[in-house]
Each structure stands twice: as C-alpha cells, then as structure tokens.
Symmetry: C2
Subunit: 250 residues, 2 copies
Amino acid sequence: MTGTTFPRVDRSIVADDGDEFTFCSTCAFSHACLSQGLDKASLKDLHMLVEHIGPFHAGEHVFREGDPFEAIAAVRAGTVKTYSIDRDGREHVLGFHLPGEVIGLNAIAGDRYPCNAVALDTVTLCRFSFPQISVLATRLPGLQQTLFRLLSRDIGTASLLAGDWTADERMAAFLVGLSRRLAARGFSPDRFQLTMARTDIANYLRLAPETVSRVLKRFQDEGVVRVDRREIELADRPRLENMAGGILQS
Amino acid sequence: MTGTTFPRVDRSIVADDGDEFTFCSTCAFSHACLSQGLDKASLKDLHMLVEHIGPFHAGEHVFREGDPFEAIAAVRAGTVKTYSIDRDGREHVLGFHLPGEVIGLNAIAGDRYPCNAVALDTVTLCRFSFPQISVLATRLPGLQQTLFRLLSRDIGTASLLAGDWTADERMAAFLVGLSRRLAARGFSPDRFQLTMARTDIANYLRLAPETVSRVLKRFQDEGVVRVDRREIELADRPRLENMAGGILQS
DNA sequence: CGAACACTTGACAGCCCTCAACGTGAGTGG
DNA sequence: CCACTCACGTTGAGGGCTGTCAAGTGTTCG
C-alpha cells in the first residue's frame, strides 16, 4: 500500500536465461520473447526491458484506478483481480489474471488506469514500460503482432460475459474457462484451487454471492462438481461444457 | 450477398486530398492520417493503403462470422451493426458503428472474423489491409499508437454493458452514448434518427424488445425523451445522464 | 475464547422475460 | 384509391429467475 504504482522493487531478480526460458514458456509474450526467430540483439532488448516486480501479497494493489498509466505487466505467479467501483459503491470484477496473462491493456487508450488491480495471493509480475515496448514493437513485427493479438483477444472475452446468460451458464463457463486456462499452463484441469472469494466470483459473473453459493451447491448435488471450501473438482466436465457452450462460443 | 468478404468495388472513388481532409477529420484514423506530423511520403503510404469500398445497402453484409480476416475498416457513412448468433439462434449485438469508428478489431486475435457485420442503412467504408497497415505501423509510431488506442478503447466499452444494470440504466446509457458520439461528429446531440430497429437495441442491451418499448414509452411519459418512430429527441439530458451515470463512469 | 469474516441456507419480492394479441405504417397490386 | 400483406412496434397478463433481507454455520486469527 505504498501509493506508488508498479514499484520497481526486487530488481535483483533479473532475467536469467537458463531459468527464464522454461519459466516464461507459458507467458503471453513467449512467442515474441522466445520463438519468433528474433536476432539475439532484439531478444536481448526485450529481456532488458522487463522488470521483475513483486512479490505482492494477498490484498496488496498492483495499481489503482486513476494512477498514471506507464506500463503493462504479465503475471508470473499468483492471481490478479482487476475491478472497479461504481458510484453506488458496488464492485465490478473485470477479470482474474493467471500466470502468463497480461494486465493493464485497457489503460492504453487513456493516460490513467481505468480500474484497480489487486493480488489475490502471492503475485510476481513482469513489468513492461509501455512507451518502451511500443518503440521496441516498431522494430520487432512479431512483438507488435503479439500486442495486437493480446488486445484483440480481450475485446472478445469482455464481450462474452456481456450476454444475458443464466446463473448456471455463467458459473459453468467460469469454471470451464478457468479449467482450460489452468490446463494450458500445466496445472490439473479437473481439480484446482479457487484463489478468489465467492463474492469475487459473484461480482465477476454479475450475480449475488448467495446465487453463487446456491448454484455451486446444486452443481454438487447433481454430481457435476465437488466443492470443498476453495477447492473444486470438475466431476462431469462434458456436462459443464454443454452448459457453458453458449458462452464459450460453440 | 456475394459471399466474398470486403469486395473491392468502387475503387474509382480514390482518396482525393482536397475532399479527404475535411471528410476524414472525424475518422478514428484522422490523428494518424492527418495531424501527426508525418512526412509526406508516409502520409502518402497510408492513403495509398486505403480502399474505399461500398456502398452497402441496408441488410447487406460487410463480412460474416468465419470469413477469413484480412482487413479492418473505418465507417465513412452510415451505420454498421456487428452481431453474432449463439447456438440457440439468439442474436447478440456487439455494437453499432458510426462514421469514423472502426470495425474488425476483435478479429485480429484469430484468423477469422468472430462476428457478422451488416449495414443498417447505406454504408461506405475505408478498408485497411491488416497485414499492410501492420507493416506501415512499424514505420509510423503515431499509427501504431492509434491502433493500440483503438483496440484498448474497445476493451473498455465491451466491459461497460457487462454490468448488471437495470433496463432504465441501459437504455439511458445507450441514448446518451449515441448522442455523444453523434455530437462528436457534428450531428445534433438532442435530436437524431435511430438507424436500428427496436429489436436490435434490445439485442444490444440484452433486453427483450417489449422491454425496450416499455422503457421508451415510460421515458416519454416522464418527459425525458420524445419518440416518434425512429426519430428521438432527448428532452431532459441531465436526467438521462444521471440515470446512465453508473454505466458511463462518472 | 471471542470477534470478524466468509459462506450457506431460507423466505419473499421485484424486475424483466415469455406468450399473446393488437395497432401502425410502408409497400404492392388490383 | 383501396384492400391486402407483412414487418415492426406496442400493450397486456402471468410467471420464473435471481436479488434482497435475514439468520445461521463454519473458519481463521488475535
């Protein structure tokens, strides 16, 4: 809670190629960083640009609404929640960001962050100065393309939950989506920890916390999932995917 | 209904500098095209890249879901509706795009358009080959920045309607938003034509068409608006802005 | 052990969707 | 000029999903 945005701490943890290549393989920038056949000088430039920041502990903010926008960041470890507070004081969760995913993209249009970002557990980040990565992107078409794609994808995901889906469809889509993203990063797709509170899920899915509770209980009674506090097991994935199908564009 | 995407017709209407400078001043690319202090050669490159296509008449599609993605386009005249059909056959309207606004940005992440785009009235477009404009953006930082900002802004607008707002709030935000965008383009902000059907508005706001009808009628009874078929007059703008405030982040 | 918090469970109400019928305006053909 | 058609829009009645309010349970932590 320093008030400063993206404090440049822990600079001692610099990019270590040996370790980075494996660690960063799940990152959204991995294509740009590792595989685009960039010449060594360009690759070095990108790695020089990265600042490893954190760790942030649960409840600590990475940035706050209104902070001047200077950088985007990729999650290295942990989960980041982005949210905003409307004038009635209600919290709207924009997204949960897992390792390899990028935060701050919706701030590019303005000069300030339009939302808050808070760590849900212990979080470390790769910080990219946006002015600098923009300049670099003019020299690295692969990097520019990566940025375009990241931005474009977020437009699509933001549109998905905008539909008028039922509570069951929303919850199913949330669980399946989370499962797929975890699987893509090497975690178990059928059994994982929910790092966010029920209230966070509710604010993300635009439901009441009580509804989240009831839907999860009903899912469990129907044998679709098994829930124990923050731990969840997807027992009947086909059924879940079918329920979520309308949202996850099938 | 040719089935071909972005047909390159009407190529005879080429960029005419004398006319373009005034016409394009309201366009999303105007900063990149006109004012960024680009050298003449660069400016010429961008104008060379533009293809003026259309006109499309009401009901004709600009592109369809699944079409290979090759280009983005700025609306020159008319209104374009982007939408998708879910597996239950329900239409979800992603947005209405006025002159100066850009369509196709959500297709960049994939290699195919994720939605349909249809003309609501007579529409003409400026087509930009995306591979070509990407290459050009590496040489013109101002253009790259413009693209980044356009993409980023769409993330934000997509998130806005995702909230759990009431029908009144949604309708008010829709009217105020439309009014502001029209005003920014030199049209009257208080009296304008709705180019879309009630059903389109409903599918955009995630309401039933009947609800749209009822809300508009109540607004009229309360003296907030005056409606006559597709023509609408915002009689009490402060009241509308207040109702929409929660969505239009004030 | 007590307090704070997260979560669950139940009762009730309200908003909005669904279904149905009717009204209206534009275009067409006689 | 009129009857007809059809799409669009309006109006009404009823019901379902989910939010709200309230109380209770379980967990964590000081």
